[in-house]
């Protein structure tokens, strides 16, 4: 009951501050901008000029799987940044402003408080990501060639696990510090550090969370799910759950009045 109450309150809040409108729109742009601009690159270059007379510009040789992976590449940068930014004050903001002092003296468990907020952000991100990727699928199909439903949905759900991890990490930092800007910085720095580690040790740690999109590329080319992807996804889920449990523990030991 309390869980639903907080969940609904979060939905109402994100509706009133326009997040339920702008985040899906931003995700559509993020997901379709690269496939479209890649397709029209020759025309864009032509209109800009500077090409020798008689040069024939063909659309670059991009296979459908490469085209749809462009969406994931953009999501990994801009998309992740937007996700962190919309979640950076979900708990930190309430603690900083002082509302938490009114909420947490009510008999509500910290885990309910954390998980309901986590779930609402997940629903918002899921919806936006779904709309964005469906748009991307449509354009890739139109401009580059077929992506099967099987390919699309396995790509969609495997990458979703990574986004869940990003939300969980942001929530985790929300319980550690109460300045939203600092939550953003810490989360982004952590993800960048993880990405660096992933690049250096990718051969030794095929199950590392950041390797998910690499494995998805391989999955689309070979049309089968690599074992390493299952491994990476499992590790990422475990880490996300761990982060939520840790958040609960941290918030419990924190003194709300500080």
């Amino acid at each position: 009951m309390q869980w639903i109450t907080i969940f609904k309150k979060e939905i109402l809040e994100d509706w009133r501050n326009y997040k339920w409108i702008w985040v899906p729109l931003v995700f559509i742009v993020i997901c379709i901008m690269d496939p479209i601009s890649t397709y029209y690159l020759p025309q864009i270059l032509e209109s800009v000029g500077g090409m020798p007379e008689g040069t024939v510009l063909e659309p670059p040789e991009v296979v459908p799987s490469q085209a749809i992976m462009m969406s994931l590449t953009e999501l990994s940068m801009l998309g992740v940044l937007v996700i962190v930014a919309i979640s950076m004050s979900v708990i930190a903001g309430e603690r900083k402003s002082g509302v938490a002092e009114l909420i947490l003296v009510k008999p509500v468990s910290y885990f309910t408080y954390i998980s309901a907020k986590w779930a609402e952000k997940l629903l918002l991100v899921f919806t936006s990501y779904l709309i964005g990727m469906l748009a991307s699928w449509y354009y890739v199909d139109l401009l580059f060639g077929q992506i099967t439903a099987g390919q699309f949905f396995s790509l969609f759900f495997f990458y979703l696990i990574w986004l869940i991890f990003v939300i969980s990490l942001t929530i985790f930092y929300n319980t550690i510090v109460k300045v939203p800007g600092l939550v953003l910085t810490l989360t982004v720095v952590t993800i960048m550090a993880m990405s660096a580690i992933n690049q250096i040790f990718s051969y030794r740690m095929p199950w590392f969370p950041n390797s998910i999109s690499g494995h998805i590329t391989k999955m689309l080319m070979e049309n089968s799910v690599p074992n390493a992807l299952w491994g990476a996804v499992s590790i990422t889920i475990i880490l996300s759950v761990g982060l939520l449990i840790a958040s609960n523990f941290i918030l419990k030991t924190k003194e709300m009045a500080d």
């Binding site: 009951m1 309390q2 109450t5 907080i6 309150k9 109402l12 809040e13 009133r16 501050n17 402003s97 002082g98 509302v99 002092e101 009114l102 909420i103 947490l104 003296v105 009510k106 008999p107 509500v108 003194e255 709300m256 009045a257």
Partner: protein
């Protein structure tokens, strides 16, 4: 019957004790003022009772609560500066926190309407809280603390940030709430405490220095005292006053003799008899009482 029993409650921040071992019980149905100057440790104490701060040591026992039970459901708490979600309406906020306190949505709505009426913001119930005035927010704060009909209502400096009008409104409201629940509120103003509370807990430097009902404290600290002034050499009369049996203590202050007496009536008779008999050049003979104000000032100055 006690509602809450506090034993040896201690709070230290970085080794610095802000609250130094409090022991007190709150009687059911009483309105108790936690009185003390700023920095006495009042807010820290209330925050520990509400569960916002963890005591460094000591125990808080809530009557009727089993060990390890979440006592937050029995408590309503209003912080000194309540902050709300400015994008919510007053009614939405009350229904929200009501549901968080285990009320069903229907009950929460009903209770919210009742309270909005009681705290006189019913008209503004569908306005965003961001537009509320300071007094309205304070009253909404009391309403949110009352939403689950708590057995103990704790208010941290409920009137000190308000203008005289808002102050009066909140005090009247507290007078009404006294009938329904036990109230513990902190204040640094003796007048507010005297006006609505039954009992006083006087706090200073993290300790409770006086506790009891207003009446008993008034009585305890109300020693009778005469102030006498004379023409000429005052000190000789002081010696002679000391010899009177009814007088406990004398001292000089600003050229006047202050005499503390046991019983006002006998003392007056004796002193005046002596004065007439030996023809004292009295220019002032005045009865004065030490009050709670004197007690409070004494506490604050130490």
């Amino acid at each position: 019957m006690a509602v809450i029993e506090v034993q040896n409650l201690i709070k230290a921040f970085k080794g610095d004790q802000v609250v130094k071992g409090l022991n007190f019980t709150l009687e059911k149905g009483k309105c108790v003022a936690l009185l003390g100057p700023n920095g006495a440790g009042k807010t820290t104490t209330l925050r520990m009772l509400s569960g916002l701060l963890k005591p460094t040591d000591g125990s808080i026992h809530f009557e009727g609560a089993t060990k390890g039970e979440d006592i937050r459901q029995y408590i309503g708490y209003l912080p000194q500066y309540p902050i709300f979600h400015p994008w919510m309406t007053g009614k939405e906020f009350l229904v929200y926190v009501g549901q968080l306190a285990h009320l069903s949505k229907k009950d929460a709505i009903e209770k919210a309407d009742q309270l909005l009426e009681k705290v006189a913001i019913f008209e503004a119930r569908n306005q965003r809280i961001g537009k509320y005035s300071g007094g309205m927010k304070q009253r909404l704060g009391i309403a949110q603390a009352m939403i689950h009909s708590p057995q103990l209502l704790m208010l941290d400096e409920p009137v000190s940030s308000l203008d005289p009008l808002g102050r009066r409104e909140v005090l009247t409201l507290m007078e009404e709430l006294k009938q329904q629940t036990t109230i513990l509120f902190s204040t640094h103003i003796l007048g507010d405490a005297e006006e609505i509370s039954d009992d006083l807990l006087v706090m200073h430097h993290g300790e409770i220095v006086e506790a009891g009902s207003i009446e008993s404290l008034r009585h305890k600290h109300q020693t009778a005292k005469f102030e006498l002034a004379f023409q000429g050499d005052t000190t000789t009369y002081q010696e002679r006053l000391k010899q009177l049996e009814c007088i406990q203590e004398t001292f000089l202050e600003k050229g006047e003799i202050h005499v503390i007496v046991e019983d006002i009536e006998t003392a007056r008779r004796e002193i005046l008899k002596e004065a007439i008999a030996t023809d004292w050049p009295l220019v002032k003979f005045e009865l004065s009482r030490t009050t709670l104000e004197d007690l409070f000032m004494k506490v604050v100055k130490n």
